[in-house]
Amino acid sequence: MRSEPLLRIDGLSVDFDGPPGRVQVTHDVDLHVGEAEVVAVVGESGSGKSVTAMSVLDLLPGNARRTGSIVFDGEDLLAAPPGRLRAIRGGSIGMIFQEPMTALNPVHSVGAALTEAILAHSTLTRTEVDARAVELLGLVHLPDPERMLARYPHQLSGGQRQRVMIAMAIAAEPRLLIADEPTTALDVTVQAGILDLLLELRDRLGMAVVLITHDMGVVADVADQVVVMQHGRVVESQPVHRLFESPGQEYTRELLAAVPGRTDHDGVPSPDEETELEPEAVGAQGAPHGPVLALSGARVEFRQGWRRPPVVAVGDVDLRVEHGEIVGLVGESGSGKSTLGRVALGLQRVRSGTVDVMGTDLATASRAELREVRRTTSMVFQDPGSSLNPRIPIGWSVTDPLRWSGIERRRSVLRERAAELLERVRLPGSWTDRYPHQLSGGQRQRVGIARAIATSPRFMVADEPTSALDVSVQASVLELLLEIQASMGFSCLFISHDLAVVEQIADRVVVLHQGQIVEQGATNEVLRAPSAAYTRRLVDAVPVPDPQRQRARRAERLLLARG
């Protein structure tokens, strides 16, 4: 019945020529994508999703080798001449990379980047290009597009960068869009908007989408066909309904089971599946009292050159994190979450207000005092790629904090610790010699987590620590955090856009909107009975990992939006 698919990957294997010799990372991957079809690729972190996606357009590093066949629209891409390949890249096939932070050239403004993307496959005039750029930014729900055009990547939040990336990929209205985790840095409301956009493009242009994601809710929401990967192989490939109803593989079942809050009611998990640990009880374990973090009237502004008014990223925020408490920080992309997290560790100066961390005011602290505080704090950065030193093996990266804070200096012990830490985040202990660029996105993120827990901190800021993790790994990481909390009584400011994760781990939730706290309170209360309008919208936008129900909800929402 189905005609020849638009993209047809058969028996694709990829191997890398590394120091230990050639290592094969994917094995005989088959992937077929029909016209106007949305194929979701899910699977374990490190199972070869990104590698497969990048092999289509030959974007792997020079030491990679592809065997098998990749046919796009009847054309063999493995054998395509460079000129032809260039026309297809960005023109017929758009690509969204997993890590938007490093994918943008730091010296080009958003406007320049978009202009380049637009002009790569069209011959518009200057004004047309500008108009198109503004239009694209609007499509990906970036506020104030005209002003965004003049910004540089380092002036954008994670989610904003990701949306710029998406805008670039769809600039030429490709026939196939390969989107590698396109919404990891987006809050659910924006995510919903982006998914709407993709579906709209599909309907309007017949665009096919390969959507790599670990969010089963998203899969349920938009996918027609689902491909499950594990250990570099495709283990299952099914239409979405069938997959959710009767997963054929043990791994798929595990995957679905691990989805937090997969319940029968709505997006927010029910209380009975909540964590079994009682954080408050732990927090009381005779540890020092008083808040670990107390922000009062904290304000952060970014200068924008000489004439334009500064951007107020965080406006006069009061926030407390009590000892032994995990506070979830949620909010729209660009609302100032990361900035707030950086403020909490003294990485970002406040314009006004005080930042009290365990009794030290970071705003006025000396270098030595700051270091003293940092001995017991740590951070998981939002972007795992750029926060790891590219020149040193990950084994060093994870144990460096131990050395630097003087906890452990013996090499042999550190080596052991490195392996141990990697294993705790479900990475092979033998990978200590690997370098960041040899890892998958999720693997890098886990290295970041391993590093953050290495020193057994008393206070941690975790900025989207699980955004790139598949649900099963995510579950174990969350468990790990809770375990640490239980045993050591640590406190955490947990930034996430994934409400289910927040629900699962946080004692309290703070909702940030445009740099202001709009609501805060116990997790249950806020997420179940949101009082602020924004929170309500947020909660409503969470996709449920059930294709039928999610589609019904989507239809309802779109109807509402139109009607």
Partner: protein
């Protein structure tokens, strides 16, 4: 981590390896010069001056005083390694440290380093060298010091500029978050990430140092006269470039090979430091 070094060795660029071997040979030759040189580098034989290659017993010919060129090249290697390589190494170490501090610490450190280097740079090098040497008298050590001072600013500027663009990188911030002491951030975190251009500057500076030494020797302000140095041999050879080119060719070749090998070594080292390039 145990096998890392073996792997590195296995993947090192063969040219880089060859260059390293040559440099090692050079060092050995310099150290052993008194024993392996066929003649006394100072003994004159004016009737047999400016002999071509291979002329009776002089493998590389003789110079304008009939001194054996091979012996002078070998002995000159000592001066060159001490003065040129030494000064370049000093300049690199000092300059990079200054540049790192200036770029990373900002404010007063920045002002201090940048203004400091400006003062040195604002003087034409020849004049600075001339003044310094005339005041202090010519000797190898004077040269090492003056060239160290002269060449350090280039490294400082370079690493300063590079540090500026790296210092706000997230991995640097991460290091700060994890309590890395400032020296560690500078040397272990930032330095490896800016090493490329610095290593590229090394052979360039080395060549400049040899040439400056040559120029100064020519002006009599270099390594004191009868002592052999490649720079002064090149300068001398140039005078007889047309009638008797061998002295020039041989001494220039020594300089070229040295610069080339240090350059290749630097390139290999740079690739070693950059895992991405190593893994292909």
């Amino acid at each position: 981590m145990t096998t890392t070094t073996q792997r590195k060795a296995a993947r090192i660029d063969p040219l880089g390896l060859a260059a390293t071997v040559v440099v090692l040979l050079l060092v050995i030759a310099a150290v052993l010069a008194p024993w392996i040189a066929p003649y006394d580098p100072l003994s004159q034989d004016i009737p047999n001056r400016l002999q071509p290659l291979g002329a009776d017993g002089h493998l590389l010919g003789t110079d304008e005083f009939g001194r054996d060129t091979l012996s002078r090249i070998l002995h000159g290697a000592r001066a060159e390694l001490l003065v040129a390589v030494g000064a370049t190494a000093i300049a690199m170490t000092g300059g990079v440290l200054v540049g790192l501090c200036g770029g990373y610490l900002g404010r007063w450190a920045e002002a201090l380093t940048m203004r400091g280097t400006e003062v040195v740079l604002a003087f034409p090098p020849v004049v600075l060298a001339l003044l310094f040497v005339t005041i202090h008298g010519a000797s190898s050590w004077t040269l090492v010091v003056i060239m160290g001072i002269l060449f350090a600013p280039a490294f400082a500027r370079l690493s300063y500029g590079q540090t500026l663009s790296v210092r706000s990188a997230e991995y640097v911030e991460a290091a700060r978050t994890f309590c890395a002491p400032t020296p560690v951030i500078l040397l272990r975190v930032i330095l490896p990430n800016i090493s490329g251009p610095i290593l590229a500057q090394f052979p360039v500076t080395l060549a400049n140092a040899i040439l400056l030494e040559s120029g100064l020797s020519y002006l009599g302000l270099g390594i004191p006269a009868p002592q052999p140095s490649w720079g002064s041999m090149v300068a001398a050879g140039q005078r007889f470039m047309q009638s008797d080119p061998w002295l020039l060719i041989v001494s220039s070749a020594a300089v070229v090979v040295t610069v080339l090998c240090f350059g290749l070594m630097g390139a290999a080292l740079r690739d070693l430091l950059d895992p991405r390039r190593r893994h292909r």
